[in-house]
């Protein structure tokens, strides 16, 4: 089948990025298993632009994460850890955030990092003219100041714990004020990160060299070369032939074949597959009908049939570090057709299901399986396949009965759903339901000054979302990086980051 495999990171939420399938020639020379030279990483996508503030495409973010640094980072469990800020504190009233910067950090061009860079970067992100995708996460910020060269202070209009999480996103990566002033961010990738941009050939490759002065320790690899190989079968074949040191894989059918000769590191993605129900239309405005649909679907079966078992069943919260039951809160055990029928009260329902065609590989298979499962309880789904551009338009207006979607996740559960179900949410229309119980919990979470929302808070949010069943959450894909056996320490995170390249080695 002809599916674009580029779109895994298609984060519908937030700015919907355009699908650009570059079709330009690329060299196919062999990097080989030589232990000198850069580590060659094959992936389907390219670096589309150099300005972190407007980066949305998966390949671009993945590259810029290596070149730039953010004030804070998250660890594998989603906890905040130091980045360019070696420490930080929140004032008692929750309205002042103070950051203490690492000492002696320099940009790749030699300029020293000072708190002025933080001010200039965040002011630029908050400026509407920049059109940054993270601007809407920083609406609570009233002022950013630099009381001394090593200290930056952010003032908030009201307590908002999610601001700290926003400062981990590549969109807030710290830029050199000189570049901002000169307006050359689209031309020069001048960061503080572990790797420097050495060259790029559009549609073919991106060359990075190690930043030996990196404040977190010089990378052990001399450099990294990203190769653009648009077909994942070719990536796997190239790995087996020794043409690449590592490859980023997203297609479950390819991942299923990736065994023997290559090492696999995988992490469940934060992006999740869900069946969105339009609770503003009859009969989905009735809670029992939505619950019946949620109850009828055996998630494991969807994973087995649609992505060859290469996925993890999930509930609403995909932020790493929270270990929650994917279905606790539903009035049944999913897959229980009898219970679902009872909730439906013996009626039959006809619904049209909006499905993206040519977007991500598994859509049509998921659609067919859901159709078969729901037909057992008298819910008749008709598949309405639409190309990406039409789909996105209708998705954002909730112009559907139900829609099969692959939505982006975030490390903060609050940020992840406030934009759909919070008060005045930017994507409230697309969400398809106004649910006061969910909105109330989100408002509480938003006012919390906790750096990381407590397990109890998040568990309650997840239970309530499942109980209200605005959507049916199905599964997350796995983010996969396959490597040669001699590559050590290279992994991939839930948000597709390859930051581990900084400490990875090749034997």
């Amino acid at each position: 089948m002809f599916r674009h495999r580029l779109l895994r990171a298609f984060a519908l939420a937030g700015a919907v990025s355009a699908v650009v399938a570059a079709c330009s020639p690329a060299g196919s020379g062999n990097a080989g298993k030589k232990s000198h030279g850069p580590l060659v990483v094959a992936r389907t996508v390219d670096l589309d632009g150099l300005d972190p503030a407007v980066a949305t495409a998966f390949g671009t973010v993945q590259t810029l994460q290596l070149i730039f640094d953010t004030l804070l980072r998250t660890d594998a469990d989603g906890r905040l850890v130091p980045g360019l800020a070696k420490s930080w504190e929140t004032s008692k009233d929750g309205r002042t955030l103070t950051f203490h910067l690492q000492q002696g950090v320099r940009f790749h061009n030699g300029d020293a990092l000072t708190a002025d860079a933080v001010v200039a970067t965040l002011d630029r992100v908050r400026d509407e003219a920049t059109a940054s995708v993270v601007r809407s996460n920083l609406l609570a910020v009233t002022k950013v100041t630099a009381p001394d060269p090593n200290t930056a202070v952010i003032k908030l209009s009201h307590p908002d714990g999610s601001v700290l999480h926003t400062l981990t996103l590549t969109g807030t990566a710290i830029l050199d004020p000189a570049d901002i002033k000169a307006g050359r961010l689209a031309q020069a990738a001048n960061g503080t990160g572990p790797f420097k941009l050495a060259g790029r050939t559009q549609g073919q490759k991106v060359d990075l060299t190690a930043n030996s002065a990196y404040f977190g320790g010089a990378p052990k690899l001399p450099g990294v070369e990203f190769r653009v190989i648009p077909d994942e079968n070719s990536i796997l074949a190239g790995l087996r032939a020794g043409s690449f040191d590592a490859g980023v894989l997203t297609d479950p059918n390819v991942v299923a074949q990736a065994h023997g000769g290559v090492k696999i590191a995988k992490t469940p993605s934060m992006a999740y597959h869900a069946l969105m129900l339009n609770g503003r239309r009859k009969p989905l405005d009735r809670l029992p009908v939505r619950q019946a649909i949620a109850c009828a679907i055996d998630r494991k079966q969807v994973v087995d049939t649609a992505v060859a078992g290469q996925g993890t069943v999930t509930g609403p919260i995909t932020s790493p570090g929270y270990h929650l039951s994917p279905t606790d809160g539903l009035p049944c055990t999913p897959g229980d057709a009898a219970a679902a029928k009872k909730l439906l009260g013996g009626t039959t329902v006809d619904l049209k299901m909006l499905v993206m065609s040519g977007g991500y590989a598994s859509a049509v298979n998921e659609a067919q399986n859901l159709q078969a499962q729901l037909s057992k309880i008298g819910v008749k789904l008709t598949i309405d396949q639409q190309p990406t551009n039409v789909y996105v338009k209708r998705w954002s207006k909730a112009d559907f009965d139900v829609a099969l979607a692959l939505n982006g996740g975030m490390s903060s559960p609050y940020l992840m759903y406030a934009r759909y179900f919070g008060d005045g949410a930017s994507l409230a229309k697309a969400a398809g339901l106004d649910s006061p119980p969910i909105a109330k919990l989100l408002a509480q979470a938003g006012a919390s000054t906790e750096e990381r929302l407590s397990d109890a808070t998040v568990a309650q949010l997840q239970r309530t979302m499942l109980q209200q069943s605005p959507w049916v959450w199905l599964f997350t894909d796995n983010n996969v990086v396959a490597t040669q056996p001699n590559v050590k320490g290279l992994g991939i995170t839930a948000d597709n980051s390859l930051r581990s390249l900084q400490s990875a080695t090749r034997g």
Partner: protein, 320 residues
């Protein structure tokens, strides 16, 4: 003189046909439900620059009456404004420019492989009609016609992947000017798949044309004169049956210009067919319109060339 006039007539007819083609292409996409083109412009507006949007509006002649739109459109096309792709933001002329060489090369390669193969098989089969060889070749030909390209291509791709670890990939396409060897290694398999159907058709034409000539009087005469059978076969029979064979090869070549879509899709070749298919799937109307117009024009021109060659080969046709 009559021959010249006939050629002139054909060229004039060609112009008429092309106008008709333009009307059909125009009408098909203007008969879309609602103002799909306007709506499409709206969805992707963010991606296009103001200049690109203006070029696209000029191209479509939006806000004018339908006949006016048609005239505007033709004018724009003749001035080289083929519109802008709303999905990639690239102007359509550039897209077509990079796709044409791929498709033409594919068609040429397939013809170079398929036509000689088909002619040889046809002669082989016609050598002894009804014999075992004839039956074998005819059966193979029937299979070649009935085997859908997408099946053969899928199987070839799977075998290449499993045995040779070769995977087609549009992004790694190597053009002929970059590397002849690299290019041929990517083009040869799809060309072979295309050649199968072409060889089968040419074989059938060759066989029946050959048999027609072989049954004719002058061959009997030649045989009576005691000429060697092989000499008769190649020198007299094949030469005299060349008209329908050349015609069929020409027609098939023309067909390939618009008929490589499946092969390009399966082998991920960045040619016209794939461009068109993706444009249809993504409702990128300017690309669809211009690509269809271009392919149909190429097809008509090739058919005219075939017709002219046909006249050159067979002077009798000039008199009609």
């Amino acid at each position: 003189m009559t021959a010249l006039r006939a050629v002139g007539g054909r060229v004039a007819g060609l112009a008429g046909t092309l106008i008709g083609v333009a009307v059909v292409v125009f009408a098909l996409l203007r008969l879309l439900p609602g103002d799909a083109i306007d709506a499409n412009l709206g969805t992707q507006a963010g991606l296009l620059t103001a200049g690109q949007r203006a070029a696209l509006r000029r191209y479509y002649g939006i806000d004018q009456s339908v006949p006016h739109q048609f005239v505007t459109w033709i004018g724009q096309v003749l001035h080289g404004n083929l519109g802008v792709s709303v999905n990639s933001g690239t102007d359509v002329a550039t897209l077509l420019g990079s796709a044409i060489p791929v498709t033409v090369e594919l068609a040429v390669l397939a013809t170079l492989i398929g036509a000689p193969l088909g002619i040889a098989l046809g002669v082989l089969a016609a050598g002894r009609p009804g014999g075992a060889r004839d039956l074998g070749v005819q059966s193979a030909g029937l299979l070649g016609l009935a085997l859908p390209e997408f099946v053969l291509a899928s199987v070839v791709v799977a075998v290449l992947g499993a045995v040779f670890r070769y995977f087609p990939s549009a992004g790694t396409f190597v053009s002929l000017s970059q590397s002849v060897g690299g290019n041929l290694s990517q083009m040869i398999y799809p060309a072979l798949v295309l050649a199968v159907g072409l060889a089968a058709t040419v074989m059938r034409t060759t066989r029946s044309a050959y048999l027609d000539v072989a049954r004719s009087d002058f061959v009997r005469t030649a045989r009576g004169k005691g000429l060697f059978p092989r000499r008769i076969r190649w020198r007299h029979v094949l030469r005299n049956s060349s008209v329908p064979i050349v015609t069929m090869v020409g027609i098939q070549f023309g067909y390939l210009l618009g008929g490589t879509v499946v092969i390009e899709q399966v082998f991920a070749l960045p040619g016209l067919g794939r461009l068109l298919l993706n444009a249809i799937l993504q409702r990128d109307y300017a690309v669809v319109q211009s690509a269809v117009l271009l392919i149909a024009t190429g097809f008509v021109v090739v058919n005219l060339a075939v017709d002219l060659i046909y006249r050159a080969l067979d002077p009798r046709t000039a008199e009609t």
